[in-house]
């Protein structure tokens, strides 16, 4: 089996048709037989139809022509050879080319078998020039027909019983890609799918031989036979290769349509006569609605750029440029731009922002996989790449299932206090699959070095391991154990002993179930799991609210001086900033506003006010275009800000307005909750929101307008998600009354919309 055999089969059919043509008595100057479609390319599988066009000059009468055609076709029908034919003059071909997309595409592969070569050459040249001239008419029709076919036949890479020809990523897609390339509308790297074409054609040929039928659907019952015929170790290995090939085809197809659709547009989707490139950070721009890594960028000087570009593209809902991906992949292949071990915090944050982008991350992640960039960052991913799950529960291969789980998890980030841990474990929860071992236990072991390399601390790694080990615990317990039995709840809290981890496991179970599909997850099952979680939470005594920070002795003694004091520590790619300042209403929003106008992105903050003096610790990430931060400059800006000289609000509004013009993706709405902290007689306001420029400024400013005091604040940014916890009191002291707390929460929520 292979190209040679398919070519031989095609040659034999050529010979047979030539003999029949000669025997028919047709004048070889007046008539020609040409092959089209796969026969035109000389690629015949055992079950393939013979697609032919009989072209004639029109000089024969209808009766004479009919006799010739019958003399050619009847012997073929008698031999039970399936034939798909048409009989046309040159002008009839021209009409069909105008009217029928299938004819227009089929004739791109036309090949003379016998008869007048000029007739075939003429049709060939006419078909190609019409295809090129009318590409703006044909290509949208082609895209529409592909979408309809995908609806009918599903995705080759993920179906249990895919159609090798018709499914998305199948052989018909390769023909479509070749046609798009022939149109000249785009230049496609067709060599990228040559291996896939060869593999899928060979599997199809083996399927025809193994089944003795001409069907292209690779049924479950045929997969073992085909695998044996092609000398695979088992059907899983065969289906993994099929999936990988289909993904390569689909990747090129999706990239092609994206480029076709957005050619000549800028970052905002406007059509331009000349391509305008918008720089959004050093080394990264947007052009043609794609995120581009600048060609001359030195990736050794900033190895995080790949992750930054991927996260940026995902968060903006754009694609990464095909060319940039290839140039970046080549650089990584030659040993350039390697990330340190452990990754810097910035790299981890970008990975989390990429994972947290929801549906927008799927295409980006697939591109990183197809270009093999992903394996430089996460070599462990190779073990699950295109790994099939041949059972009725799953819809996808292991790797795609994990990506889909991350997509579902992105919608649940408001339900947990550590969205970064949720997103990370969602993406890697099945990393232990691929052997006979229990995948949860194997995953627990495999994830530890990976999480450490990505930069999670030891405590987080323990939580991640626990989540992966127990990711099936809630579903299994909820459906198989008595939820009214206290022993059932005890068994859960024996494994998961704190509320934070339990809420993470709950969100992970939902995301995993939703990604698996309806066979594994339903409202019925969700309600059982909810009940189990509710009862388990009641049995746990801790809470998830961030506690007020404790101050050090040196901070207390400096605070006692009661004057503005600023220190800065450069920690490589972030600054640790400590600010001690006499307290005043709106201090948090003023300081965060000053940091914002200095182009410093707040990643975390811990502030506490004691005896009228606020002690604030900030971790800030300078914007790539920000100047070097000095203590003197920050001190000067703070003095101006505190004195009310700076028009902070206006400057920040300008930045927000520039930001909201950028493309964006949907994300869960912010959540603002309030609790009473009896220990300190304060009200806790917890805000969980998608991060954006000046988020903390907006929150602080709203609190100021509500005329309440912030006693402490704990601010955390995890990837693209922010969790801000404020301990507030009335100006004269004391917690807010319930109604007032609700009013403040709703004003904050409104300010974030």
């Amino acid at each position: 089996m292979g190209t040679r055999e398919r070519r031989l089969r095609s040659n034999e059919s050529d010979l047979l048709l030539s003999e029949l043509f000669q025997a028919s008595g047709a004048d070889s100057q007046e008539v020609a037989i040409a092959a089209v479609g796969s026969f035109g390319r000389g690629e015949l599988s055992p079950g393939s139809d013979l697609d032919i066009v009989i072209i004639h000059t029109g000089s024969y009468s209808p009766v004479e022509l009919s006799e010739i055609v019958n003399a050619i076709l009847y012997p073929l029908w008698d031999k039970k050879i399936k034939i798909d034919h048409s009989v046309r003059t040159r002008s009839e071909v021209r009409t069909a080319l105008y009217e029928d997309l299938k004819v227009a595409m089929g004739l791109l592969d036309i090949r003379l078998i016998c008869g007048n070569p000029d007739l075939v050459a003429d049709v060939q040249s006419m078909a190609l020039s019409l295809w090129r001239d009318r590409s703006s008419h044909y290509l949208p029709l082609l895209r529409e027909s592909l979408e309809e076919r995908y609806q009918r036949n599903g995705e080759l890479a993920y179906l249990l019983e895919p159609d090798l020809k018709e499914s998305r990523g199948g052989l018909r897609d390769i023909t479509a890609l070749r046609a798009i390339h022939s149109s000249g509308a785009l230049v496609l790297p067709m060599e990228r799918v040559s291996q896939a074409e060869s593999l899928l054609s060979t599997v199809r040929e083996a399927l025809h031989i193994a089944s003795g039928r001409d069907k292209d659907r690779l049924l479950f019952t045929e997969q073992d036979k085909v695998a044996e015929l092609l000398k695979y170790s088992d059907a899983d290995a065969l289906m993994s290769d099929v999936a990988q090939s289909a993904r390569a085809v689909d990747y090129l197809m999706q990239m092609t349509w994206y480029q076709y659709q957005h050619k000549g547009k800028d970052g905002l989707g406007r059509f331009l006569k000349r391509v305008r490139s918008t720089s959004i950070s050093p080394g990264i721009s947007i052009a043609n609605r794609e995120v581009v890594i600048d060609n001359n960028f030195d990736i050794d000087s900033d190895p995080v750029i790949g992750l930054r570009a991927a996260a940026t593209a995902a968060q903006l809902g754009l694609r990464l440029s095909f060319d940039s991906l290839r140039i970046y992949a080549d650089a990584l292949d030659t040993g350039r731009g390697a990330l340190t071990n452990p990754w810097p915090r910035e790299a981890r944050e970008h990975l989390i922002a990429l994972i947290g982008a929801g549906p927008a991350m799927v295409e980006i992640f697939e591109a990183l996989d197809q270009e093999e960039i992903l394996f430089h960052w996460i070599p462990e991913w190779r073990g699950v790449r295109s790994l099939p799950q041949r059972n009725v529960l799953h819809r996808h291969t292991v790797d795609r299932h994990m990506v889909e789980t991350a997509v579902s998890a992105a919608a649940l980030t408001r339900e947990v206090h550590r969205p970064d841990l949720l997103l990370f474990t969602a993406l890697f929860h099945d990393i232990g699959k691929g052997t006979e071992e229990d995948h949860s236990l194997r995953g627990e072991i495999l994830i530890a070095p990976l999480a450490a390399r990505i930069g999670f601390n030891e405590r987080d790694i323990v939580t991640i391991q626990k989540l992966i080990r127990h990711h099936l615990l809630l579903s299994a317990t909820a459906t198989r154990r008595d939820l009214d039995d206290p022993a059932t709840i005890s068994s859960v809290i024996e494994s998961i002993s704190d509320v934070g981890t339990l809420e993470l496991l709950h969100a992970l179970s939902i995301a995993d179930g939703e990604a698996t599909g309806r066979a594994a997850w339903s409202d019925w099952k969700a309600s059982l799991v909810n009940e189990l979680v509710r009862k388990s939470k009641l049995a746990l005594t801790d809470n998830t609210v961030m506690q007020q920070p404790e101050l050090r002795e040196d901070q207390l003694s400096r605070a006692a001086l009661g004057t503005l004091d600023v220190t800065i520590e450069d920690r490589g790619n972030v600054y640790a900033v400590e600010i001690i300042s006499p307290d005043k209403t709106g201090l948090l929003s003023i300081v965060s506003g000053v940091l914002n106008v200095l182009r410093l992105d707040v990643r975390s903050a811990r502030t506490k006010t004691i005896d009228g003096v606020a002690v604030m610790e900030w971790l800030v990430l300078p914007d790539p275009n920000a100047p070097v931060l000095t203590r003197e400059e920050l001190h000067r800006e703070l003095v101006k800000g505190l004195a009310g000289e700076e028009k902070l609000a206006q400057r920040i509004q300008d930045r927000i307005e520039a930001y909201i013009q950028m493309p964006t993706i949907p994300f869960p709405a912010p959540i603002v909750e309030t609790f009473l902290d009896a220990a300190t007689d304060a009200t806790i306001i917890e805000v969980r929101s998608h991060d954006r420029p000046a988020l903390l400024f907006s929150i602080g400013d709203t609190v100021r307008k509500c005329n309440i005091d912030i006693k402490s604040a704990i601010v955390t940014t995890l990837g693209a998600e922010a969790i801000d916890t404020l301990y507030v009191t009335e100006i004269g002291g004391g917690a807010l009354a319930t109604e007032r707390a609700i009013e403040v929460a709703s004003r904050i929520e409104a300010s974030l919309k």
Partner: protein, 112 residues
């Protein structure tokens, strides 16, 4: 012939299945169901707000049996499904006029 329908607590399904198999029943239909009987659902507190959950998740199991076997099979289900607490479910039987096995066309008790 009789159709036995049982509404069970989900976690009891495996035990009931095993007991039915031990009693010679090889085919059954299982589906997810929700409802309430005398237990009337329950009250949940979520994020400080109290609300009533009306429908409790259950499993619905259906088995076709010969008339002569129906009472014994009902006993098997009741014994395996019981915990003694509220919400254990219900079992009932319904007369069935005709049963046809689609593949072979067999009818009546031959199709069970």
């Amino acid at each position: 012939m009789k159709l036995i329908t049982a509404i069970l607590k989900p976690f009891k399904l495996d035990e009931v299945k095993d007991a039915l198999q031990a009693a010679g029943i090889t085919g059954m239909t299982v589906s997810e169901a929700s409802g309430f009987g005398r237990q009337k659902g329950h009250t949940e507190v979520y994020r400080g707000a109290e609300y009533t959950v009306d429908l409790v998740p259950k499993v619905r199991l259906e088995v076709l049996v010969d008339d002569a076997d129906a009472a014994a099979i009902v006993d098997v289900i009741v014994k395996a499904a019981g915990t003694g607490s509220i919400g254990d479910g219900k079992v009932w039987t319904t007369p069935v006029d005709q049963v046809v096995r689609v593949r072979t066309g067999e009818r009546g008790t031959d199709a069970i």
